[in-house]
């Protein structure tokens, strides 16, 4: 039971962080980035490929991939998001959803082409013997992942709440004219948040990969569960997204441990559907703050 619970928290951190990334980007730009999971899976496979095929040090591999992802995100925002924002302000969110879905499928296809269908993982950044606390076996990468999740979530919450730039990020999603008259360039803020969320997603993918392992197709289901966590946080509250993500992870692990492991994901979506049908108000109005 304890081991299932712990495994659930670990995978839940992943969903939660993806959800938080989706929330931060939506908060600033009204873009729902469904590709976040696939980008993270691709980043992980790329780092693993550099290590296995070129014998690179893990940190060098991570650095190369993160720099490449930052450049890609910059190009994507400049060539895709910005022109769409300039043209279709009314349907921007819907249009961008389909564009990020297309990006998700493209990244998945590229992942299969470049890295094959096998399961890959990056070596643990904190390796060594597992810890044993009674019947609970705790792997070091899991502790690292949970610690980074807690610290990053707390730091993000404090940043959004207490800093001027954090307030600007919140304001950008509420009134574009309003931010421009105080000297904010909303395009730049959106760009920074897009790059930041993609890099954060990629880094968490790399952190979780020694535990879960990724294939080219792992990303979409991870991203979808992240989106569900974000939806429960009305797409604007990253802290709540992390908490909901962890709850989803725990529910998934308990279903896998005690009900059925074959239909684990289906059951999780089933439970979430029942929760939403029973308490529709739980989702509130997407995009609205508490």
């Amino acid at each position: 039971m304890l081991n299932d619970l712990f495994a659930g928290i670990v995978s839940g951190c992943m969903y939660g962080v993806f959800g938080a990334c989706i929330c931060v980007l939506f908060r600033v730009s009204k873009v729902v980035n469904i590709a976040i999971g696939d980008l993270a899976a691709f980043a992980t496979l790329a780092v693993a490929w550099f290590i296995t095929n070129h014998g690179l040090n893990v940190w060098v591999g991570i650095l190369i991939v993160l720099v490449a992802f930052a450049l890609f995100s910059y190009a994507y925002d400049t060539l895709v998001t910005r022109p769409i924002a300039a043209r279709s302000s009314k349907n921007f969110t819907a249009v961008m959803f389909f564009f990020t879905l297309a990006l998700s499928l493209l990244v998945e296809g590229l992942g299969q082409l470049l890295f094959g269908s096998e399961v890959h993982g990056v070596p643990a950044l904190w390796s060594g013997a597992n810890f044993k606390i009674g019947s609970l076996i705790v792997e070091r990468p899991a502790i690292l992942l949970i610690a980074v999740t807690v610290v990053a979530t707390a730091a993000m919450g404090a940043f959004l709440r207490y800093t001027l730039i954090g307030r600007v990020i919140t304001a950008c999603g509420q009134n574009e004219t309003g931010v421009r008259v105080v000297g904010v360039n909303p395009n730049r803020i959106r760009l920074v948040c897009f790059i930041g969320s993609v890099l954060a997603g990629a880094m968490f993918g790399i952190l979780v990969s020694p535990l879960l392992g990724f294939t080219y197709s792992s990303g979409l289901s991870l991203g979808t569960l992240g989106l569900v966590a974000a939806a429960f946080a009305r797409l604007v509250n990253p802290i709540r997204a992390v908490v909901v993500g962890i709850l989803i992870g725990v529910a998934e692990a308990l279903i896998g441990g005690y009900v059925t492991s074959s239909y684990q994901v289906v059951m999780v979506f089933g439970v979430l559907t029942v929760v939403i049908l029973a308490r529709p108000k739980i989702l509130g109005t997407l995009g609205s703050f508490d």
């Binding site: 001027l164 307030r167 304001a171 009134n175 004219t177 309003g178 000297g183 360039n185």
Partner: protein, 230 residues
């Protein structure tokens, strides 16, 4: 500080909102921009604030931004700040946060000292807001929202504060209060540009009147100004 408009034309698709405008506005002036709705007043202010694209040149102290610089950010950093029509507040953020965001014009860090100073200046000008600081801006009345929008503009430390239709949708008593505040700002030597469809208050406040009709801008001579005030 001096704002120069040279041969400025603002277009929205095929519609010309402002045509070949030449104008000079000093930071020691109070300028009333008057004219019927839809004749180009807002376009003029938006062009100056960098919110509307235009042909021609708008210079602040003889300088223009580089092509890569967002003109609206550049204008704010140069001390040209707009309080837009319908205020453009952040409805689900507190009044305090709305006002403090004005500081982004000159800093990225909010020290406690700066925060206290901005809030003290705001409450000095608008004591009515004291009980509303922690309320969401979207829950305020129109008059209170206008106060927040002006306070946010002033938090940006402008040399010239431009107000687009500040009395739009407000009760007469609120409008009088608002113009009393603008008059205080004027006494303190703040440069003002006030665009109004109903011009009486703006003309009384200002020492220069610019009329905008069918996209054409003209500075009204003094005798015409006096005729405009009943």
């Amino acid at each position: 500080m001096k704002i120069e408009l040279i041969d400025v034309t603002v277009r929205y698709g095929s519609i010309i909102a402002l045509s070949n405008c030449d104008l000079v506005i000093g930071s020691d002036e109070a300028v009333a921009v008057i004219g019927p709705n839809g004749n180009g007043k807002s376009s003029l202010l938006k062009a100056i604030a960098g919110l509307a694209s235009f042909d021609g040149h708008i210079r602040v102290d003889g300088q223009e931004p580089s092509r890569r610089t967002a003109r609206s950010s550049w204008a704010v950093r140069r001390g040209v700040v707009l309080v837009p029509e319908r205020r453009a507040l952040f409805p689900r953020m507190t009044v305090r946060d709305n006002i403090l965001l004005g500081c982004y014009a000159f800093t990225r860090r909010l020290s406690t000292r700066l925060r206290d100073q901005v809030m003290a200046e705001t409450l000095d000008l608008f004591p009515e807001l004291e009980t509303k600081l922690n309320s969401d801006a979207g829950t305020l009345s129109g008059g209170q929202q206008q106060m927040v929008a002006i306070a946010r503009g002033l938090a940006s430390r402008p040399s010239v504060l431009m107000l687009d239709e500040p009395s739009l949708g407000l009760a007469e008593i609120v409008v009088h209060k608002l113009y009393d505040t603008l008059s205080t700002l004027r006494t303190e030597g703040r440069g003002l540009v006030v665009a109004e469809e109903s011009p009486v208050n703006a003309i009384r406040l200002c020492d220069k009147v610019v009329s905008v009709e069918r996209g054409t801008v003209a500075v009204a001579p003094a005798p015409v100004r006096s005729e405009m005030i009943p």
